[in-house]
Assembly symmetry: none
Homo-oligomer: 206 residues x 2
């Protein structure tokens, strides 16, 4: 049985929530509650509150952000913070259940329009970003090392990498040390510079 936790300042859960998930619990404020899916409906969108909420959630717990007035900007902030879905608070029970199914199975749910916007931008960016120079130098690395290197190249801390790759921070360090060694850089910052610089000029050509 999957458990659902709705976090909302409102006194009563929306009827459609109960309709969709009769056994769901409701909390007025975020807490270190455990649940299979956490639904968050803030009175008004607050990025920092969302960050704090996600930080407190057990790793891997999917968060769905609900909004009575969805906006693209809010959705983006929600996704940036790590939410796995963003949808209308007054969506039909059937749709809420669909969303739950998606996030419970490791998916991302955004609704058609947002989805296409996100995918368009993301794929364009990543195609231009990961493909070119990086590949040539990264192929000396093992797949796992490469994954860590790419995360770091995007600015992630060890803790964040660990969370995203679902490994220990210690393991991240291990891979990272190997990466530094293989690429001949002294720290993560040099790694970023190495991967961002086009391969053209190898400055120690002297």
């Amino acid at each position: 049985m999957t458990t659902h936790l709705f976090i909302s300042p409102r006194a009563q859960p929306l009827p459609r929530w109960q309709h969709a998930f009769p056994d769901a619990t409701l909390a007025a404020r975020p807490g270190a509650r455990r649940a299979d899916v956490v639904w968050w409906m803030p009175p008004q969108f607050d990025a920092s509150a969302l960050d704090a909420l996600i930080a407190d959630l057990p790793a891997g717990t999917p968060l769905v952000v609900l909004s009575s007035e969805p906006s693209q900007a809010d959705a983006m902030q929600a996704l940036a913070a790590g939410a796995r879905a963003y949808c209308h608070a007054y969506a039909t029970p059937a749709m809420l259940q669909q969303v739950a199914v998606v996030v419970l199975n490791g998916g991302l749910w955004l609704g058609p329009e947002l989805m296409s916007t996100v995918m368009g931008v993301a794929s364009k960016q990543l195609l231009a970003d990961v493909d070119p120079a990086a590949a040539t130098r990264l192929d000396a690395l093992t797949p796992r090392e490469r994954a860590v290197a790419i995360e770091v190249a995007h600015g992630a801390t060890n803790k964040e990498v660990a969370r995203r790759l679902d490994i220990t921070e210690r393991t991240v360090k291990a891979h990272l040390s190997a990466v530094f060694e293989k690429l001949g850089v002294r720290d993560r910052l040099q790694l970023v510079l190495e991967l961002k610089q086009p391969p053209a000029s190898v400055d120690r050509a002297a």
Copy 2:
């Protein structure tokens, strides 16, 4: 009953496919077949073939791209073309079923690593549209702050910056804190990314 169509050049379906979806049909070549979910496993990744395949699919039919050797670059191309999921061809039947559930409910399935990569990049890009703070540049800084920022952007440590500018390491920290604050970044790594990833212009008109 949901119908599954596997498109693969191989003569026999993989056992795990049959295990996951006993009623699935197999086709060697793309065609205008109808199905609730289409799974495509190309002998090797081919972006144009993928485009053609998606064009022939009934609108709204989710496509899952399978790969026996997943790569981030291929995944990006698949997503750009409109695939709704990208996963390992030898994933467990349970995972394949999860993927099916996700895409059938309007979700996107990428696996944890790719997912975080995509979301990170996409949200950063889209937020830049919405949040002008992130687009702020060096001209908002005082001359001294700018000098420090540039040194750091070249990969210098605080100690190195201090030596080059002939000031105390402590002072470097002070300037840096101001820089972080003004540019809205959390640390030197984000600063480097901000300065390396230049144009604030997001050509999202398309």
